[in-house]
Symmetry: C2
Subunit: 347 residues, 2 copies
Amino acid sequence: MKSREHHIRIAVDAMGGDYAPANVVAGICEAIHESGDRLHLVLVGPEDSIRAELRDYGRLPGALTPPSESYSIVHAPEVIDMHDLPTAALKTKRKSSIGIGLHLQKDGQVQAFVSAGNTGAVLSAATLILGRIHGIGRPTIGAMVPTALAPCLLVDAGTNVDCRPQHLLEFAMMGSIYVSATRNLAKPRIGLLSIGEEDTKGNEASLAAMKLLRKSGLNFVGNVEGRDVLSGDLDVVVCDGFVGNILLKFGESIPHFLKTKFKAFADVSMRNKAIGLLVRNALRQVLKDLDYQEHGGVPLLGVNGVAIIGHGKSTPLAIKNMIYRAEEMVLKGVNKNIQDSLASINE
Amino acid sequence: MKSREHHIRIAVDAMGGDYAPANVVAGICEAIHESGDRLHLVLVGPEDSIRAELRDYGRLPGALTPPSESYSIVHAPEVIDMHDLPTAALKTKRKSSIGIGLHLQKDGQVQAFVSAGNTGAVLSAATLILGRIHGIGRPTIGAMVPTALAPCLLVDAGTNVDCRPQHLLEFAMMGSIYVSATRNLAKPRIGLLSIGEEDTKGNEASLAAMKLLRKSGLNFVGNVEGRDVLSGDLDVVVCDGFVGNILLKFGESIPHFLKTKFKAFADVSMRNKAIGLLVRNALRQVLKDLDYQEHGGVPLLGVNGVAIIGHGKSTPLAIKNMIYRAEEMVLKGVNKNIQDSLASINE
């Protein structure tokens, strides 16, 4: 494994995602090309497949073949796919790209791990192998939600369904530190998702979390409602994973719903059909904002290391952006900040 | 109070809604005109204001002035507005249109009550004055959500934030009976909102509710996800009021979000601006489906009587449709069906 000392070293799950290893190889080549020599990427997966994919990629017109010192390959013969049950797979597939990639980080050979593979498996393996940050109750995964302005982080996005107030407080703090690091915001605005803006509105857990947030010293704007998520007025929206998952999947269904409605509109008349064609293109451009890939994955917050998790359908662009997210988390010392903040939010 | 015996008699809160009494008076006049002589409507509110409004309405071109035997007025000098705290207002304003209207029903002088006023006050007053259906744990309010096909009932829409599994089961049963009555469906398809379709996915309350629903004899299709709400594959979607309220308000914010996005699109170029104008009209037509007023209010389910609650911004059309919803609930014996079903869903 060749490398230079000053590089940030990131392990990339070569087998993660529906279009692996092709999209992963293309993504790491683009990242290396674009970032100059500041990164060393470690591709983890079946060595033969990775080498074959690198050869194929190199034959493409305009291929950005990386210099050999900018990457290395670590052999991992097994693959955990999207249908595997996370905890079972970690036991039966001990030489998976996810397990080996995370062990490289545990052993200090890389500083971060990136995967567009089975989210549950990455979450379980990272928690098991890297451990939690001391004092954090539950690691969490957020999601970047498009808004009228900059995207906001919805946390938890589905990892923890039944949450205690303390968990919600920790999600707020970790989300705030992550957003602060990746968007260079001094004080991200944090809202607690509830059913009214007044401090008296909420369910049992949210009402108790609200009190913890009020005295946390975080930039907490108070309760926010469903309608505030897309407003652009917030940088971090906190909720339990049950609400977060339902809201995100509801949001993801909107483009299809609109397409169905516009199609019905177009079918009314020839004039509508003509307008419908124009609308379709406008709609596509408008809805591309709802696209996950620009954001390039989300962090697993609360584990004792850096893990970025991507969508199964990650494109090379998404893989590249996931690598940059991982780099930012390392450079900005996100985990150190989380550790330092734990004392202050709990008074 | 003149009336004929075979009429269905419905009390209407003349002061309910932001545009009361004007929209209420216009709405009842339209309902009486359209329904022939099958309804007798009782306007409840300050008598002078109502009479003045009826006179004003009668002077409009094309006014559908109702025959005097088709309506009556019951004086209620006090008004609970949107800023009043429900339980406090019921104590301090004992002669409110909401309180007196519901007492008319309690005393058997009308069979239903309709209001576009303070939702919390109608809920509290109806529960207090009419009482709950014997065996129902918590009265609930649902909301009609537009889908790719027919609208579906999301229940609970925000009334009960922390729910026990038995409450969710009762919401499912009551929602199913209401939808069955108003849409003439033999077996409405019921989904339980969760974070995955498998029976193992959910939070504590939803997992336990799932088990109750599986053996309830209802047409329960299983767990559904956020993306299924708008699909048109479901007639009733069950969740607690915390999730329901957040989801509904998120959905309500989509049109504004899209308008902002399309505006940004239009500002890019002259060509986009021209397309933007066409899009705006198409979008308006498409989004009018998201409009509450066609549905004309939602029922308060689980109280020992009929109460239909409307949006504060109810138009005359919405008021008219609320009156029809109330009529349907009476004619179809929704409450009797709820009472009869209680034994069977609990085995």
